[in-house]
Structure formats: structure tokens, C-alpha cells
Symmetry: C2
């Protein structure tokens, strides 16, 4: 047998001796129902432990109580933080959350959106940044148009190139620029960057902002000092090692993500380089614990939970006819001990006696 006992509204109605219409009204409070009948219905529902079938409800009402959330990877602290805010906001609005992890696969993101459209969710939250890929953007644009036609709201975190959706925009570019200026202020002139896959807009923005601010000061980064790596602790470790292998000429390294910075810190240590003695290191995001590293990591703090709440709020607001809304969320530079003034000519100026340079 694959049909299971389920208490239905009809059972409740029969138990209470009323019609299912009345039972529905009593339970939902949509229309006035004579007090004693309502009591009877409520009691019957309680007695039978009735739980409405959400699918039937959604079908009849032509709308559900769910929102969809799509991120790149729930286990990444960045998305975990945002998701935390989203979940809290959802709970406050009595919404169910359908979650999707794309693992940074554009195709999977698309299929999640159409799946969620099939679920007739109230709104879809795109918390991962978009992809820099024309074909993908085209397909996504079509898909989002369908969502719009179906009345499904869309809200996003980060820039989604070529897609006009309401969005919460962490100021990646400005934040990276501010960080660059702070680093210049410490006296650095030679920089290296550990960047992520260039299909992710966030990465592109951070690198661009960083380079722009440097350019304003007449500083540019040598191409070989920009290393691409995966968005993970080990990706950062590998990228930093690669940098060292190429010959680290920078006095300051910017990892476009805190997780990568964590890996880089370990890698530098493995290669006998001290931070910030031999090289300063900065990240981006201010995920938990990076302030507890030794040295604590300089970074650009983003209010992740807050971003989560705001993107939900945006999604819940009715669509506007005209332009898409954009809320900017500034990042704040947090200078910690992983960055310091560059060493004078011989590195490791702090050592009591000069040491031979550790080979690059």
C-alpha cells in the first residue's frame, strides 16, 4: 500500500458536524463563523491533529507560503552567514525556505530557479553573485522573465550582470578600494592578489576596485603577482604557494576572500614567511574566526546576517513597475595585525639580527 492515512479537512468537518467550507472558514478566519461552530471545528481539528495539506492549499490559493533561496555553497561561511539572516527573516514572516546549493555551477542555478518557479514560491533569493557568462545571462534573463510573468518576486545579493533584479549590493568595489587605500597608507607599494574564478562577478569587482585605487596612487600590480585560485581554504593555500613559487615580490597580499586568506596565511607560514613581518595579508568578508587567527586578519567587514535580512525584505516588497531597486551595503575596512608597514629594505626588520632571506 502506498496510500497513507492523512487527516483531511473533510474529516475535521465531519467530526465537527459542519461542511468543509465552514471548517475551512473557521480554521482560516477568512469569514465570520458562528462562535459555537468555530469552537467545534477547532476542537475537532485539535483532536484529530489536523494539519492542512500545503499542496492543496497552494493549489487552491494559487500561491504558496514558501520562498526559494539559492546560494553557491551552504557550508561556506559567507553563505552560512547570509542564510542565517534569511532564515531568521523567513521565520518572522512565517515563510518556508526551499534551499538550493549550486556549488558554483551556472546550469544548476538555472535549474533551481525553474524548479522553484514550479513550486510557485512567493520569491526567489539569489544570494550568490551572478556569473560572467553571456549565454548563461541570456538563459537566466528568459527564466526570470517567466518568473516575473508568474508573479514570483526575485531579489539578489551582489551584482547580477545584465539582469535587472532588485538587489542588495555589498560594495565590493568600493570596499576593495578603501582597503587598497588603507594598505597604501601603511606604506605598501608592491602588491599581489589572490583572486577567485573570474566568472564570479564578486571577484571581478573586488579585483577591479583594488586595482583602481592603486592606479590612482600610480601603483600597478605586476601580472605575475595576480594568482587565481579556488574559493576555499585550500584554494587560497595553493594560490599563495604558487605566488611564492613565482617569486613573491609584493610586500602585501590581498586575498579576495577571507577563506582564501586563511589558506594563504598557512601557506606563507609553511614557506617560512612571517605575517606581517615578511608579508602583510588582507582578506575580504570578515567571516567568523578570522579575527581570532594569529595574527588577526585585516579585512573588509560585510554585515552578512544583515544582508540576508535585507534581501528577504526586498523580495517581500511588491515589485515596482520601473527600475529595479538597489540597496548598497558598505563594507568597512578592519585593520588588524596581519597588515603592518612594509619592512625596510632587508625584510624581517623586527628580528633582532638580520637573517638570510628565505628563498622565494
Amino acid at each position: 500500500m502506498d496510500k497513507w492515512s492523512q487527516v483531511t479537512l473533510n474529516d475535521v468537518a465531519r467530526e465537527a458536524g459542519v461542511s468543509s467550507a465552514t471548517a475551512s472558514r473557521a480554521l482560516n478566519g477568512t469569514t465570520r463563523v458562528r462562535a459555537d461552530l468555530r469552537e467545534r471545528v477547532l476542537a475537532a481539528a485539535e483532536r484529530l491533529a489536523y494539519t492542512p495539506n500545503a499542496h492543496a492549499q497552494a493549489l487552491a490559493r494559487a500561491s504558496s507560503q514558501a520562498v526559494g533561496v539559492i546560494c553557491h555553497d551552504v557550508s561556506d561561511p559567507y553563505f552560512a552567514g547570509i542564510s542565517g539572516g534569511v532564515m531568521r527573516a523567513a521565520a518572522e514572516h512565517d515563510l518556508h525556505v526551499i534551499m538550493g546549493s549550486t556549488f558554483r555551477d551556472p546550469a544548476r542555478e538555472l535549474s533551481y530557479v525553474s524548479m522553484m518557479r514550479g513550486q510557485r514560491v512567493r520569491a526567489i533569493l539569489l544570494t550568490g553573485s551572478g556569473f560572467e557568462d553571456r549565454a548563461w545571462q541570456g538563459a537566466m534573463r528568459e527564466e526570470l522573465a517567466r518568473c516575473a510573468a508568474a508573479g514570483t518576486r526575485i531579489a539578489a545579493v551582489s551584482r547580477h550582470h545584465g539582469l535587472r533584479v532588485d538587489s542588495v549590493l555589498p560594495e565590493n568595489r568600493a570596499g576593495a578600494a578603501a582597503l587598497a587605500r588603507a594598505l597604501l597608507g601603511l606604506g605598501h607599494r608592491d602588491f599581489a592578489v589572490l583572486t577567485g574564478p573570474p566568472v564570479i562577478t564578486t571577484v571581478v569587482d573586488r579585483l577591479a576596485g583594488f586595482q583602481e585605487a592603486l592606479a590612482e596612487a600610480g601603483v600597478r600590480i605586476a601580472p605575475d603577482q595576480i594568482v587565481e585560485g579556488a574559493f576555499s581554504r585550500d584554494g587560497g593555500h595553493r594560490a599563495a604557494s604558487e605566488l611564492v613559487a613565482r617569486g613573491l615580490r609584493a610586500t602585501c597580499v590581498f586575498a579576495s576572500t577571507d577563506i582564501m586568506a586563511v589558506g594563504a596565511l598557512a601557506a606563507f607560514r609553511d614557506h617560512g614567511l612571517t605575517v606581517p613581518g615578511d608579508v602583510s595579508l588582507a582578506g575580504f568578508d570578515d567571516i567568523p574566526v578570522v579575527g581570532d587567527l594569529t595574527p588577526p586578519l585585516t579585512t573588509v567587514a560585510l554585515p552578512l546576517e544583515e544582508i540576508g535580512r535585507r534581501v528577504m525584505a526586498l523580495a517581500l516588497r511588491p515589485a515596482t513597475a520601473g527600475r529595479s531597486r538597489v540597496e548598497r551595503v558598505p563594507g568597512t575596512v578592519v585593520l588588524r595585525a596581519s597588515t603592518s608597514a612594509p619592512a625596510a629594505r632587508p625584510r624581517r626588520e623586527r628580528s633582532p639580527r638580520p637573517l638570510t632571506e628565505t628563498p622565494g
Copy 2:
């Protein structure tokens, strides 16, 4: 207008010039359909960008493609790790995930379960440990019985006292015991514990296992050396500070969670205590980055992603009539530099010259 245009199966059928029944069959492949008709239907669906209404499908089929996942807090690295495994497994099985965060509120956990039952999910995954609360357990037992009657599978991570559900059991007790023995092996005899809220079974088990192993060696922990704190970095910080305020007599501190250990590490440092010089510190879980702290944290590693996959696998297996299934997942003690042999009588033996003790 609050009714939105949606392409329905009927639209597709009309476009293809067949009945909706045939369209359904062609789309689902449940029965043979003449090749040319199937082509026409598929083409029409493609042309109209048809996405089936999941609610109508679920209602008609009396089953959905969704599973529910309930955790205590998505933004906690422990649950983020497990969720990662769950999401991967779900994607492989083409299942949608409905996620709920209880924020450690038993009532919310209950309401999530019944909400998900209303969603007619295939299975509910309880990834947070249960609560040590009779009333709650009773209510939960009833609720789970209803799920069983409705054919909704239940699987859990951690011990859910008094609830017989299939579960993946991280060996908290044995893991903590193994850790205790390792610590005893280093020469420690005086221990302190930073524990979490005692309503969480996981906490209870870890503390119990730790104490048992110590007892076997004839060691017991003074009651004032056991401090309760919140399951968070700051909770750990406060608990450790409290311990210092009470007068830290232990040479080794066990934090029942890595996040608490991170806070404790910072707190000890704030109080001028070095780790492991003045006090050894160990955690539990081996969440990301604790191996990158200075000193790297000794802990009991749990394969979080794996646990996530396994609890999903368990939920997908049909229910057994008899006893509930239990899969044990061992934790492995990872000794890192945050623990060392206790200092000889005067603390900070490593300092070149004796220092006055930092006041407790």
C-alpha cells in the same frame, strides 16, 4: 490582479493538439505514447516554457519531491558542514530541500516538523540533537507518530532521547572519552570543562564521556571547574573568563564545541595566559579553520559532510518494521599544538625567567 499567467498542462496539450492525459504521459514517460505525438508534446512544452505546477503534481500523486531538514542554526559551522552533505545528497537524488532553523528553540522544532508534515515531504531530517525535556519529548513523540502514519520518513543526527528514529550517531561519548585518555596520556590530572546548555543531548554526552574516562583513571573534575556557556564563540569567551574568575586550577580545558574553544582561546589570551604554556585547550568537532589557529586546536574530528550524506541515505531507505536503525560515526582525536604536557610546578616553565603568576 492577483492571478498570474501560468502555462498549464492544458495549454501544452492544446498547443500540441492532444488531450492533457496524453501530454502528461508524454512528459512523464509513464506509459508508451506514439512517437510523433510525444515529439509534438515535448516541442510544445519547450516552446511554451512549461514547468509543471509542483503543488498540483504533489496533490495528484499524493507525494512530493521534497525533504525537510531541521537544524539548530545554519550559520553555525557544525550545521553548515552537515547541511553541505545533505544538500549534495539531495541534489543527487533530485530532491528539494526545505530548511528550518530552530535557533535551539524546542517549540520551533516541533512546529517545523508539523509544517513539513503539512508539506507532505518524503522525509524529515533532524540534524540537531534532541532536547533533554520530558514534555518536549512527549509532544515530539506524538508528532513523529503522525509522520509515521503519513508515511513520512524520519532520520536524525545525534541522540534523540526517548524517540525511536533511525539515526546517525556521532560518537560523542566515546570521542570525548578518547580525548580524555589522550589528555591523560599527556600527563594532565587537573581538568576544566566549558560545556553548553544541558538541554542539548550532545553536550550531555560529551561531558559524560569525558568524565567517565577520567574516572577510570581516578581523576574527577571539581564542580567549580565546569562552566556552562552558550554555543558560540562569545559563549566560549565568557565561559572561559568565568573560569578564570573562579580561579583556574586546571592544566587542561576541554570545550565541548570548537566554536566555544575559539572563544576560550581568545579569552585566555586576554587574561595573559598562554596556550598551551599555561593551559592546554581542546575542542570537539574539528570545524574548518580550527587547524589554522595559533596554536592549532586539538579536537575530536567529526566527518560533518559525511554525516549529512548518511542521514539522507538513512531517510531514503524504506522504514523497517522493527527496531530503529542506528549508524555510529566515530570521532577521531586530532592532537595539535593547543595541548601539551602540563607545565611543571611553576607555570610557564618555558619562559626564560620565572614570572609572577597572572592573578586568576
